[in-house]
C-alpha cells in the first residue's frame, strides 16, 4: 500500500472510533442530525489532515528517488531539496553529501585513469622509439602508421577499444625488429634468402615481446599479422581474407602507405599519386579492399580533395 493510503486509513480509523461513540450518544439523546453532522465533520477533518501530512512525506521521498536514479545514470553531484529538520531532511542532507562525494571521487578517478593512460602511451612511445633508433626507417614511421591506422579504423567504424589497439599496434608493429641483427636491417642491396627469413621473423618476434602484457593484448594481433596478405601469401601464418584480424589489415595498409611515401635505404620516397596507383594494384591482393577504400577516403580528406580523381579511378 502507498504511504498516502496508509496514512489516510490510519487517520480515518483513529477518527471513526470517537465519532461513532459520540454519534451514538447524540442519536440516543434524540439528536440524529447533529450526530451525523459531527461524525462527518470529524472524518472530513481527519482526511484533510492526513492528505496534507502525506503530501509532506511523499514529495521529499519522490525527490530522493529521482535523485538516486540520476546518480545511477552517472550524474554525480545531483542535489535534492532539504526541508525542515525531520529524519527525511537528514536523509536528503546525507544524500546530498553522498552525491557530492561521489562527484569528487569520480573526478579523481578520471584524473588517475587519464594519468595511467598517458603513462602507458609514453611507455609505448619510448619502446617504439627504440625500434626507430635501430631501424633505418625515417624517424617517426611508427607514429605516422599509428595515426593513420587510427584514422582508417575510425573511417571503418571501429569502436574505442579497437582504435586503441590500432594506436598501440601501429606504434609497435615493428617492435620485433629489435631481434633482427642490425647489418640485416640496414642492408641496402637485396637480401639473401636466409636474411629474408630473418626479416620475416619480426612480426612473430614482436608478438612474443608483447605477449603477456595485458595493455597490449588487443594490439598483439596487429603486431603478429601485419605482414599477412589478403590473398594468403603473407607471413608468418599465411592467413587470408577475414581470417586476418582487422587491426592487422589496417596496420598493413597504413604501413604500406608510409613505407612508400618515405625514403628507405633501398628506395626513394614516391609521390603520393604514384603510391595511390600502387595501392590500387595491391587492393584485393595484399590489401583488404574495404580497408583500401577507407584508407583512400582518409587520404582524400587529409589532402583536401587532391585524391578525389584517383579514388574515383580505383
Amino acid at each position: 500500500m502507498r504511504l498516502r493510503h496508509q496514512i489516510l486509513v490510519l487517520s480515518l480509523a483513529a477518527a471513526a472510533v470517537p465519532a461513532a461513540v459520540l454519534g451514538a450518544q447524540l442519536a440516543t439523546a434524540g439528536h440524529p442530525a447533529t450526530a451525523l453532522a459531527s461524525a462527518s465533520a470529524a472524518l472530513a477533518f481527519a482526511a484533510a489532515l492526513a492528505a496534507a501530512f502525506a503530501r509532506g512525506l511523499v514529495q521529499p521521498v519522490a525527490d530522493l528517488v529521482r535523485g538516486a536514479l540520476d546518480i545511477a545514470r552517472g550524474r554525480f553531484g545531483r542535489q535534492v531539496g532539504v526541508r525542515g529538520r525531520s529524519e527525511l531532511a537528514d536523509l536528503a542532507y546525507t544524500f546530498n553529501y553522498m552525491s557530492r562525494e561521489l562527484e569528487r571521487q569520480d573526478a579523481e578517478n578520471r584524473r588517475l585513469i587519464g594519468a595511467l593512460e598517458r603513462g602507458a602511451l609514453d611507455t609505448v612511445r619510448s619502446l617504439a622509439g627504440a625500434i626507430d633508433a635501430k631501424d633505418t626507417y625515417t624517424r617517426g614511421h611508427n607514429e605516422r602508421v599509428a595515426a593513420l591506422a587510427v584514422e582508417v579504423g575510425r573511417e571503418l567504424g571501429c569502436d574505442e577499444r579497437a582504435l586503441l589497439a590500432l594506436r598501440y599496434g601501429g606504434l609497435l608493429h615493428d617492435v620485433g625488429k629489435i631481434g633482427i641483427p642490425e647489418p640485416v636491417l640496414k642492408k641496402t642491396i637485396p637480401l639473401t634468402e636466409p636474411e629474408m627469413e630473418l626479416m620475416r621473423a619480426h612480426p612473430a618476434i614482436g608478438a612474443e615481446i608483447v605477449r603477456g602484457v595485458e595493455l597490449f593484448a588487443d594490439a598483439l594481433p596487429a603486431i603478429r599479422s601485419h605482414h599477412e596478405r589478403w590473398d594468403g601469401r603473407g607471413y608468418p601464418d599465411g592467413l587470408a581474407g577475414e581470417a586476418i584480424p582487422l587491426v592487422a589489415r589496417i596496420v598493413n595498409a597504413a604501413d604500406t602507405w608510409d613505407a612508400c611515401t618515405s625514403s628507405r635505404p633501398y628506395q626513394r620516397a614516391l609521390e603520393p599519386d604514384e603510391v595511390v596507383g600502387i595501392l590500387a594494384r595491391l587492393r584485393g591482393a595484399q590489401i583488404d579492399p574495404s580497408v583500401h577504400d577507407a584508407l583512400l577516403a582518409v587520404l582524400h580528406r587529409r589532402s583536401g580533395g587532391a585524391f578525389g580523381r584517383l579514388r574515383g579511378a580505383a
Binding site: 529538520r85 529524519e87 531532511a89 537528514d90 542532507y93 546525507t94 553529501y97 562525494e101 569528487r104
Partner: protein, 119 residues
C-alpha cells in the same frame, strides 16, 4: 588547550574559532577531513571538533585515523543531521560527543567539557 577544528563551511570555522578563543583555547583549523588528519599529526591537539559530513573524509573516518596510534583524543562531532541518526552511523567504537547544528557558544563549551571528561 590546543583544539583542532574541521568544517568545510568557512562561517562555522570562524564561529568556532571565535567561541574557543573566548574560552582561552588555541585553535588550528582545517577545511576537510584529510587536511584535519594531516594537521592532527603535525599539531598534536588536545581535543578535536569535527564536522560529520566533510569532503574527502568524513569526521568519523578522520577521527578513526587520528586515533589510529591508540591515543585517547577527546572529540566533538558536529552534525546538521539529528543526533540519533548520527549515533547510528558512528557506532559504539568511535566515542565522541555529538553536537547538533545550529549550536551556541554554551553548547560548544559544554560539549567540549563532556568530551574531555569522558572515559
Amino acid at each position: 588547550m590546543k583544539i583542532l577544528i574541521a568544517d568545510d563551511d568557512r562561517l562555522v570555522r570562524a564561529l568556532l574559532a571565535d567561541v574557543l578563543a573566548g574560552l582561552g583555547h588555541e585553535v588550528v583549523a582545517a577545511s576537510d577531513g584529510s587536511e584535519a588528519v594531516e594537521l592532527c599529526h603535525g599539531e598534536r591537539p588536545d581535543a578535536v571538533i569535527l564536522d560529520f559530513l566533510m569532503p574527502r573524509l568524513s569526521g568519523v573516518d578522520a577521527l578513526a585515523r587520528m586515533r589510529a596510534d591508540g591515543r585517547r583524543l577527546p572529540a566533538v562531532l558536529l552534525t546538521a543531521i539529528s543526533g540519533p541518526s548520527l549515533r547510528d552511523a558512528v557506532g559504539p567504537d568511535a566515542p565522541a560527543v555529538v553536537l547538533e547544528k545550529p549550536f551556541d557558544a554554551r553548547g560548544v563549551a559544554r560539549a567540549l567539557e563532556r568530551a574531555v571528561r569522558a572515559p
